[in-house]
């Protein structure tokens, strides 16, 4: 599905990611963890073909369904993005046009990417909103981003992301800014989508507990290198690398997990 092999990323002469490798099989969910500066967001942006300005792939490959996309041009990416890979990020509002209704923004994607007519696009958009757990989807279709809560906006973004029926969903800190109850609902939504659509998931999070909710395997990054990877329970319960051990210990120092075993 996704195979990242010896990926190197650099900003000019400075190398930031030094040979990261991992694979994601169809339907699988992998959690990419590490502290800020570990390269997890850079790696994930390279996988999406949107590295930050000045950052380029200097070595290795990123294979999506067998095809190396690491040196794709913008036009080549337009073909792949949305249909093979799609993404949601931390701040949904900043990915929407504030002056268009959210329904119209999804309609447009459906018309351009899926070639639907105006009327079909609208019907499909309402259907997608409903399947994202948005109540009164017809009404939401006509609302502007400022009229929706953070959780509703993230559901809209997820609807847009899955509208092209991608094989891989990348979620980069997608629930970090949400209230805990809303976070739980959005995590449930993503879990449901995985089941129903056989989506592969690449989840980037600083919160090990969020990763523990959804992921089959965990890849731990530090300073642009993979220090450990393996099945989620193995990595979190019995970490082999001292850095992973420190991450887990830091996580458990405060919070409910230290108080109760659930």
């Amino acid at each position: 599905m996704l195979s990242v092999d010896d990926l190197h990323l650099a900003a000019g002469p400075r190398e930031l990611v030094h040979g990261v490798s991992f694979t994601l099989t169809p339907g699988e969910a992998i959690g990419l963890v590490g502290e800020s500066g570990s390269g997890k967001t850079l790696t994930c942006r390279a996988i999406l073909g949107v590295p930050p300005p000045g950052v380029t792939v200097t070595g290795g490959t990123i294979a999506l369904a067998g095809e190396d996309v690491s040196r794709y041009t913008r036009r080549q990416w337009d073909r792949v993005r949305g249909t093979r890979v799609a993404a949601v990020f931390q701040d949904p509002a900043s990915y929407l046009n504030p002056s268009l209704t959210v329904g119209r923004q999804l309609d447009e994607v459906l018309r351009v990417k899926n070639g639907l007519s105006r009327r079909d696009a609208r019907a499909r958009a309402v259907e997608l909103f409903a399947s994202m757990g948005l109540h009164r989807p017809e009404h939401v279709h006509g609302q502007y981003p400022y009229e929706l809560s953070g959780g509703m906006l993230q559901r809209v973004l997820i609807a847009i992301a899955v509208s092209g029926d991608p094989d891989l969903l990348v979620a980069d800190e997608a629930t970090t800014a949400l209230d805990v109850t809303v976070q739980a609902e959005v995590l449930d939504l993503i879990a449901g989508l995985r089941e129903r659509r056989r989506l592969s998931l690449l989840l980037v999070s600083h919160d090990l507990a969020v990763v523990a909710q959804l992921c089959d395997r965990v890849v731990v990054l530090r300073d642009g290198r993979v220090v450990e990877s393996g099945p989620t329970r193995q990595v979190l319960d019995d970490p082999a690398d001292p850095y992973t051990r420190a991450l887990v210990a830091d996580h458990r120092e405060y919070g409910l997990d230290r108080l109760v075993t659930r």
């Binding site: 805990v180 109850t181 739980a184 449901g192």
Partner: protein, 267 residues
């Protein structure tokens, strides 16, 4: 004994209509040397309460007292004088937006003292360095701009700025929710030390009830502008009584594995 911070019967209305209340009879007490966790999700009124306590939003009813002295009725010059004392410090959620991008870290930290007209520039600089040390930051960071330090460091800079003016009461709005575990722990350890060494009354405002375990002495749960539950932290976390508190706790993800899906309707 009077608590460092006492708020009772606090009402804040939307506009002039008593029928639409953002806060409806809310009470909150924070004794010196204690950390009180104020839990509330978006729209609960938690930020309005913090603003009301800090004198940034008017009350429609109720009272706020700091060390037994009423501060909620202050107006005009009196209110300005009270704010200048710096006895109540409110640390906003987003450190990047609350720090002036053109001021160095040390200038930002010293700003509150300058506004108050304290000492000479050199003394203020010394006080800023002391405040940075207090939150565990290398004073050498004082010469950098907010954009040149990490998010976790910025969070501690806003804390240092609040501490520089010697407050009695510290109101912190989501100080750790965006931080990774190591930075979160660092901030929480600093708060724990401040509570003990400086006898500060700290109100820690967050939507994440789980993050208060091991930190807060007491927890107050705010829902739709009302306190639905309050008590000693361990009691609220381990034996929550109100269904809303129970739902909050059930929503907290655990590192030990997936929680049961209760929100099937959304998938």
């Amino acid at each position: 004994m009077t608590a460092a911070l006492e708020a009772d019967g606090v009402e804040v209305w939307l506009g002039r209509r008593a029928t639409s209340r953002i806060l409806d009879g809310v009470g909150l007490t924070a004794p010196a040397g204690q950390i009180v966790g104020l839990i509330g999700e978006t729209g609960s009124g938690k930020t309005t309460l913090a603003r009301a306590i800090a004198g940034l939003a008017p009350l429609h009813a109720g009272a706020v007292r700091v060390d037994g002295v009423p501060v909620s009725g202050l107006r005009g010059a009196e209110l300005r004088r009270f704010r200048r004392t710096g006895r109540v410090q409110y640390v906003f959620q987003d450190p990047l937006r609350s720090l002036d991008p053109d001021l160095t870290v040390a200038e930002s930290v010293a700003e509150g003292l300058a506004v108050r007209g304290d000492g000479r520039a050199a003394d203020r600089r010394t006080a800023a360095v002391a405040a940075l040390r207090l939150v565990g930051l290398d004073p050498a960071l004082g010469d950098r701009l907010p954009g040149q330090i990490s998010g976790g460091q910025r969070q501690r800079v806003t804390l240092a700025r609040a501490l520089a003016v010697g407050p009695r009461v510290l109101l912190l709005d989501e100080p750790v929710s965006a931080l990774d575990a190591a930075n979160r722990n660092h901030v929480l350890r600093v708060l724990d030390r401040l509570r003990r060494e400086r006898e500060l009354a700290i109100v820690l405002i967050t939507h994440d009830l789980g993050s208060l375990a091991g930190v807060a002495d007491r927890i107050v749960v705010l829902h739709h502008g009302r306190v639905v539950e309050e008590g000693p932290a361990t009691q609220v976390l381990l034996a929550p009584e109100h269904p809303y508190t129970q739902r909050l706790i059930a929503s907290v993800p655990s590192i030990d594995g997936p929680r049961p899906i209760y929100a099937r309707s959304t998938t």
